[in-house]
Amino acid sequence: MSNLTYTVIFYIFAAITVFSAAFVVFSRNVIYSAFSLLFTFFGVAALYVFLSADFIAVTQVVVYVGGILVLLLFGVMFTKSIMNTELKSDVLHIIPGTLILAGMLGALLYTFYTTHTWKPSEIQLHGSIVERIGYETMSHYVLPFEMVSILLLAALIGAAFLARFDKPDNKNL
């Protein structure tokens, strides 16, 4: 894989990611946004591969595309009927949003391109890191791992509880 090919492929995925993310944001239709988000996640997963994090990329695809995105789509479908034109979502204070977006972007990009203190180190990650992840998870990061798992469990139970919300008896909610 030549350097140029590598670069071209990177730019293609970068473009997919960015444009689909932009479509997520600027589309008036929630369904379109959801599907556009799929492309974003794939693009990001591809970028993870470029960043030598293939396990993360796979996880990204499995969790985001297989879990979160499906969840989001369910949410869309629960809350609106698909055929309903009201799926088009309105935009709130567009001008301050745009200003802040431009400001944040400008500020970040300015920072990135003027900051030279984070010179990349000589040692870079290469190849698959799945093994290392396994070791690190079971050794160094075992406590966070367990906590995350408990959190996940709690979140799942909580989500299930919240989602089975009955019609409230009292009207003062």
């Binding site: 990177f10 960015v18 993310a21 997520v24 944001v25 929630v30 946004s33 959801a34 988000l37 996640f41 990001v44 993870y48 960043l51 030598s52 994090a53 396990f55 993360i56 969790v63 985001y64 879990g67 979160i68 989001l72 949410g75 809350t79 979502s89 309105d90 709130l92 204070h93 301050p96 949003g97 745009t98 802040i100 977006l101 972007l105 970040l108 990009l109 990135f112 990349p120 180190s121 000589e122 040692i123 870079q124 990650l125 890191i129 992840i133 690190e136 998870t137 990061y141 966070p144 995350v148 959190l151 996940l152 979140a155 799942l156 909580g158 989500a159 509880f161 919240l162 989602a163 919300f165």
Partner: protein, 105 residues
């Protein structure tokens, strides 16, 4: 132009910045709670990209591990958030978060 050919840290950072910007924009401006959640996912992805990029170029495994946790927590977050959104819909008959302002008073 010669800066663009070798892919460096700044490319990833730029992409993450753009994703962050879009995500913030969605969170700030969209009235649909689902889209807002999507914006949040974009922000988390942008953060992940940053973690992994710095992890790669600094050779540490910490960023990778952290991004893994982020993904897990994002999943939990999405689940909870959607449950909340559905509840909001049940109460307010709408997912329009501009109408959800009972916190005002």
């Amino acid at each position: 132009m010669e800066h663009l050919i070798p892919i460096g840290l700044n490319h990833y950072l730029t992409i993450s910045a753009l994703l962050l910007g879009f995500g913030l924009f969605a969170v700030m401006t969209r009235k649909n709670a689902i889209v807002v959640l999507m914006g949040v996912e974009l922000i988390l992805n942008a953060a992940n990209i940053n973690f992994l990029a710095f992890s790669k170029y600094n050779g540490g495994i910490g960023g990778v591990m952290f991004s893994l946790f982020v993904i897990v927590i994002a999943a939990a977050e999405a689940a909870i958030a959607l449950a909340i959104v559905i509840n909001i819909f049940k109460i307010f008959k709408s997912v329009d978060i501009s109408s959800v302002d009972t916190m005002k008073e």
